[in-house]
């Protein structure tokens, strides 16, 4: 049993504790050790305990961040005893929290890291419940050594290639859960708060990068505060531009008014307008989106008086009014510089009848979609 001793000296606290706990209460788990003779259990009891104390001693000495050492041992541990480890963990699953409680309480010199890993294992096994996958459990638990995290699922230090490969396999095999899988990086603190902080920081940096692409001229600035100022300036400039353009539009637009009246006069008579306008609205697929249907119903109630027209799913875009007829309508002031997309949309608007109300002026409480909570 010499091979047992060498890896046992570096036995992870988790394994040691668990082994201790199991072998302290052989009555519970004896039945699960059928493939292995009792000699093994008795023989390895002493080395495990000595290794456990040794590990406590050296773990207390600030080995918290040096996970590589532990995992180096774990590797040969796993290679030496694949099935033993699996059997060790089988009873652990059934062993309930009481075993771990006693082991945790018994080990007076256990660091907080080990305690958290116990919690991790306990909660994981309680919630994960995948004892059928012994190997994956073993490898996952080995990788969680030293990771003090309360997250039930998959907080693994990404230390070694084979373990990361195993972890990637486990990711496929592990039961899908709703939690976000976080991977603690090498040399970084692994408690739950710092991991949450890290995830939050990553999300924020992702969004800042996205904003950097949006805001022109922002790529030169790297600081967070500088970026924020740039973004604020850009938003302010956009709002000022809207104001300025609305002033311009207020001044220059009466011409459009006249032409629309003439358009209405020409179009209203045509009874096919109504049916033609529906396919126009359905032209862009976005309009069939659910949220738009709710907004679209708003227009309906204002214009059509019937709310089923736009909600018809069988809108045929091909039946749209031809562009040529629209083009004649849209020669406002002889300026037909609008692109076809806008043209078709303008056609819709012109055909939808007069008495169009401003969206925000004609809203009444009963017209509001349900998920748009307004307080009037």
């Amino acid at each position: 049993m010499q091979c047992l001793r060498a890896p046992l000296s570096d036995l992870s606290a988790l394994e040691g504790q668990r082994a201790c706990a199991e072998w302290q209460q052989p009555g519970q788990e004896q039945s699960d050790y059928h493939p292995y003779d009792a000699d093994y259990c008795m023989q390895s009891l002493c080395p495990v305990e000595t290794a456990f104390r040794a590990l406590h001693g050296c773990n207390g000495g600030g080995e918290n961040e040096n996970h590589g050492n532990v995992h180096g041992s774990n590797d040969c541990f796993s290679n030496a005893w694949p099935d033993i480890v699996s059997s060790m963990h089988c009873p652990v699953v059934g062993a309930a929290a009481s075993v771990e409680e006693t082991s945790v309480n018994a080990s007076s010199s256990s660091s907080s890291r080990k305690r958290k890993s116990e919690n991790n294992r306990r909660s994981k096994e309680n919630s994960g419940g995948s004892d059928g996958k012994d190997d994956s459990n073993c490898k996952r638990i080995k990788e969680e050594t030293g990771v003090g995290a309360a997250t039930p699922e998959a907080k693994r230090p990404n230390k070694r290639k084979e373990e990361s490969a195993d972890a990637s396999k486990e990711n496929d095999k592990a039961p899908k859960s709703d939690y976000i899988h976080v991977r603690a990086r090498r040399g970084q603190a692994t408690d739950s708060h710092s991991l949450a902080e890290r995830v939050r920081r990553e999300r924020i940096s992702q969004r800042m990068k996205y904003l950097q692409d949006l805001v022109p001229g922002c790529s030169k600035i790297t600081g967070k505060a500088g970026m924020l100022d740039e973004i604020i300036n850009y938003v302010q400039s956009l709002q000022r531009q809207v104001e300025f353009l609305s002033m311009k539009l207020a001044a220059v637009n009466p011409m459009m008014d006249i032409n629309i009246d003439s358009l209405f006069g020409g179009r209203e008579i045509n009874p096919t307008c109504k049916s033609a306008s529906i396919p126009m609205i359905g032209m862009s697929s976005e309009l069939l989106d659910q949220s738009y249907l709710q907004f679209g119903s708003l227009q309906h109630d204002m214009f059509m008086g019937s709310s089923d027209l736009l909600l018809r799913p069988n809108v045929n875009p091909a039946a749209a009014v031809s562009d040529t007829s629209l083009g004649s309508c849209l020669n406002v002031n002889g300026s037909s510089v609008w692109n076809t997309n806008l043209q078709n949309v303008y056609g819709v608007e012109f055909q939808l009848g007069r008495g169009t109300a401003l969206p925000f002026q004609s809203l009444q409480g009963n017209l509001l979609p349900n998920n748009l909570k307004m307080e009037m």
Binding site: K224, L238, Q239, A250, N333, E349, T356, L358, M374
Partner: protein
């Protein structure tokens, strides 16, 4: 610790719908010109500006916090205007925030930004910037298409 199960990813959301934006805004624009042809340019421009924001908010959809907040603000102001006559809301003087987070300025700018965490604020800002730039492009194209000698 676990993150909420429905945490959104950063894929850019559905994005502003340009045809809808154009449609709504133009409709609003024509209405403003029809009904307020006699009022001053300034009043009309205010209405057009409000129409721009409203069409922006409607096009963005109810899924965005800023669009909901913007529409709430517009409706609230409209209700107040109708009930209480023409009364200008006093503008709160802006103080540079020496204390507090650096995102306060952004929170004031983006509608609905005050009740959000920083992460959500950034996402809303991105969407707001996208919609604002679409609106500006649309308005600019309208101004351009009407021609240099508008009136």
């Amino acid at each position: 610790w676990r993150a909420p199960p429905g945490t959104r990813t950063l894929t850019p959301r559905f994005g502003p719908s340009k045809p809808m934006l154009a449609f709504r805004f133009l409709r609003a624009l024509t209405l403003v010109h029809r009904t307020a042809a006699n009022s001053s340019n300034a009043a009309r421009s205010r209405r057009i500006q409000r129409a721009a924001f409203a069409s922006m908010a409607y096009s963005a959809g109810p899924r965005r916090a800023w669009s909901r907040a913007l529409l709430c603000r517009l409706h609230f102001h409209r209700a107040r205007r109708r009930c209480a006559g023409r009364r200008r809301a006093a503008g709160v003087p802006r103080r540079p925030s020496t204390t507090g987070s650096p995102a306060d300025g952004l929170r004031r700018l983006v509608p609905g930004g005050t009740g959000m965490d920083y992460c959500g604020l950034l996402e809303e800002t991105a969407d707001y910037i996208r919609c604002l730039s679409e609106q500006v492009k649309l308005m600019q194209s309208i101004v351009d298409s009407v021609g240099p000698g508008g009136r």
